[in-house]
């Protein structure tokens, strides 16, 4: 117990110690003040042509992002479809089915990294490296670019442009993701993550059986999967696999890597808008939500499965689907981080969590991935709630709401409210459709309320661009690959386009200096209002269905009922 507390305190301290300087560094990068790879940057941008020079309005910025993501989708789709005809396929895997290739390509382009595929049993090294690793970088960089553009829009005194997407994309990749991934990958390889072009090696076990051990270029992919809030593992069980996460040290580094950049973006934002208190307020709101989620997850898993009372040692916790080297703390801290940060990598099987533990993981996603969230997009998701919160505050006092000196008017509030429809559409309507069609029932593994939880988790994860799963759910069917793919697209661009539009419209407004009547957006009162807005929206939307899934399962378990 005390050891667990010590580990958590160490983690939290290291996270803040990393996030603050990283935030400053990222702000400098997007301002163009980081130049140590300037020749490479110049070469890349000049190859891209004249479009990569001029500042863009929000429409041009969004169009560039869409074009880049569409091209990335097409390339990845083709690589996956035809991996059998491409090199570096030591196991001789066949090409993916069109629906699985669609799902996987969408999954990686939208920074979701949902795994309908089975990693070591499906994908060639070429697909993992050239296909997936590339998107791990550039989908993350796309999200970071959006955050930079939005911060500029909010900060600009009065203007029309948000920066240049190609420049932001290039800088995010070159100066932030690539050096960080290179360093982390080498540490990982030193700690035991394989890094080879071979596909597997054979061993004869002590009892004389043959064991084939799959491996490959693991370390390089895992480093960026954590840093870029991607989460798509090399292996089927993701970071629970001892080759992806062999020790408590790699586990700590990974958990930190999951949250470092998203948390850092709060501070980047504060610097970019020229008022660091704004960034700290957002960080405080996120940290409080994270703490609450983690505490509930930890308590629930530590309490264990009531059905096993008397059968297993008291105090051992719920160990089904967890690894001994991580224990309850290492598993639940990771689960809280990965669902908060839209990362989606797992080091324990969320499907086997206690009902309330699973509920927290799901709710973290359903809140819209704003508790740190994906790199860049987590911050912009939070800004949408900020706009709603200042709007609500304005309603209460009967004054036109303002944020950073800019008037928040009908257009911005409408756009922000529009994004509130994204999660219910993807995570409630689409599962309902699957139930009506009967495709949900045929894919769930568990009977009873847990089956509903599996379905809900899948569509929440896809729409929230998280990528973790209640993995008993058989998602690799034509129906689910298609609809989950569409949910990922909706959950990515359904937020990005409106927030860029808001940034564009705010950029055009004149910033007014604060007056005595201005509602400050950096104090504790605002943080409380922001939290209330997030929780009320999340609770109103999802409480009814959570009652039918995890809550019903919890009550059944207490009554000793199995399914």
């Amino acid at each position: 117990m005390d050891a667990d507390l010590l580990q958590f305190v160490l983690f939290a301290g290291l996270l803040v110690a990393l996030a603050v300087p990283l935030g400053a560094y990222m702000a400098a990068t997007f301002a163009g003040d980081v130049r140590f790879l300037a020749p490479v940057e110049r070469a890349l941008l000049s190859a891209a042509g004249p479009a990569a020079e001029k500042p863009q309005r929000w429409t041009g910025y969004a169009l560039a992002l869409l074009a880049f993501n569409a091209a990335g989708f097409a390339l990845l789709y083709l690589i996956l479809l035809f991996q059998d005809r491409l090199p570096l396929n030591p196991q001789g895997f066949p090409g993916l089915s069109p629906h699985l290739a669609f799902n996987t390509a969408m999954s990686f382009v939208t920074n979701t990294n949902w795994q309908s595929y089975g990693g070591e049993t499906t994908l060639s090294n070429f697909s993992q490296m050239v296909g997936l690793t590339t998107q791990n970088f550039v989908s993350a960089a796309s999200g970071m670019a959006v955050a930079a553009a939005v911060a500029r829009g909010f900060a600009t005194r009065q203007g029309k442009t948000l920066g240049n997407f190609w420049v932001d994309l290039t800088r995010a990749t070159l100066y932030i993701l690539l050096p960080a991934a290179l360093g982390l990958a080498l540490v990982f390889a030193y700690c035991g993550l394989p890094q080879t072009l071979a596909g597997a090696f054979d061993a004869t076990t002590l009892e004389g059986a043959r064991q084939t051990l799959a491996l490959g270029p693991v370390a390089s992919q895992i480093a960026i999967k954590q840093l870029g809030t991607n989460g798509g593992g090399f292996f089927n069980v993701n970071s629970a696999h001892p080759f992806e996460n062999p020790t408590a040290i790699t586990n700590l580094l990974s958990t930190l890597a999951i949250l470092a950049l998203p948390a850092g973006f709060c501070f980047t934002y504060g610097r970019m808008v020229g008022d660091r208190r704004q960034g700290r307020a957002l960080f405080a709101a996120m940290a409080l939500l994270f703490l609450a989620g983690f505490a509930a997850l930890y308590a629930s898993e530590q309490a264990g499965n009531p059905l096993q009372a008397g059968l297993v040692d008291a105090g051992a916790g719920n160990m089904e689907g967890k690894e001994v080297r991580f224990g309850i703390l290492g598993s639940t801290l990771w689960a809280a981080a990965t669902t908060a940060a839209s990362n989606g990598s797992v080091n324990a099987m969320h499907d086997s969590f206690t009902p309330l533990g699973g509920l927290v993981a799901m709710l973290n996603i359903q809140l819209g991935e704003v508790v740190f969230g994906g790199v860049g997009v987590g911050l912009t998701g939070m800004l949408l709630f900020v706009i709603l919160a200042v709007f609500l505050a304005g309603l209460m006092v009967g004054r036109t709401p303002e944020y950073l000196g800019k008037k928040i008017e009908a257009r911005e509030v409408k756009l922000a409210a529009l994004t509130l429809l994204v999660m219910p559409l993807g995570a409630l309507i689409l599962p309902a459709l699957a139930i009506a069609a009967g495709t949900a029932q045929s894919s769930v593994q568990d009977a009873g309320p847990h089956g509903l939880s599996e379905l809900l988790y899948a569509y929440s994860s896809a729409t929230g661009n998280n990528g973790s799963a209640f993995a008993g759910f058989s998602a690799n069917t034509v129906w689910h690959n298609t609809f989950l793919g569409l949910a990922m697209m909706l959950g990515r661009f359904g937020y990005i386009i409106p927030i860029l539009a808001i940034a564009g419209s705010l950029a055009a407004k004149k910033a007014a200096p604060p007056t005595a009547g201005t509602f400050p957006t950096h104090g504790a009162l605002f943080v409380a209002l922001l939290l209330a807005t997030i929780l009320i929206v999340g609770a109103l939307t999802f409480l009814p269905v959570l009652a039918l899934g995890p809550l019903a399962e919890h009550v059944s378990l207490l009554a000793g009922r199995t399914f």
Partner: protein
């Protein structure tokens, strides 16, 4: 659209070369030169024969060995490759059980495993399937529980085996991180060394 198309294609191509090819190959090159054992899956060799990986669990069923955790991995049925059968510690196809907490199958499986160990309460890790199906470790308590059985099967004094288990306990990293545990393959290799 045309203004966006050229940079999209050019930068996608260049970033693919940089992050999808140069980056993983650079990491591969450095890792293979600097720490080849780790980079190649930490294989364990005994008398020139690869017996497994230090990081990956393997199936032990003999009374003479300490057993690892239940594993939910499956493999192709040798009789009919289209079907899959239980294949614990299949390191080419990792998976957990993914049973929900209220699953009747899970509840029954735990009961059967506990009964096989002579009744509860027993260490939880010994009767629950790991996340990966390849967990190399068990808790010190789970190892202690097996001392009597292994000592009897080997005709060794229990104290000697217990002392070996205690020597094999891996503590928390830096005294803080992770959980105390015993690597089952390492313990069993040490056990085989005892008799010599």
């Amino acid at each position: 659209m045309n203004t966006a198309l050229r940079p999209a294609l050019v930068l996608l191509g260049l970033f693919t070369a940089l992050t999808g090819i140069a980056y993983p190959l650079a990491v591969t090159g450095i890792a293979q030169l600097s720490f080849p054992t780790a980079a190649n899956g930490s294989p364990v060799t005994v008398g020139g024969r690869v017996v497994g990986s230090a990081l990956i669990g393997q199936s032990f069923t003999s009374e003479r060995y300490f057993h690892g955790r239940p594993s939910a991995t499956t493999g192709a049925d040798p009789a009919d490759p289209a079907k899959s059968v239980e294949d614990p510690y299949n390191a080419a196809s990792s998976t957990g059980s993914n049973f929900g907490p209220s699953s009747a199958v899970l509840a029954e499986a735990v009961k059967v495993r506990v009964a096989a160990l002579g009744g509860g309460p027993v260490p939880a890790d010994l009767v629950t399937a790991s996340a990966s199906g390849l967990d190399p470790d068990i808790s010190p308590a789970a190892a202690a529980l097996q001392v009597a059985r292994v000592a009897k099967a080997r005709g060794l004094p229990e104290d000697e085996v217990r002392a070996l288990v205690n020597r094999s306990i891996l503590g928390r990293s830096f005294g803080v991180l992770g959980e105390p545990r015993v690597n089952v393959l390492a313990l069993n290799l040490a056990l085989d060394d005892l008799k010599r």
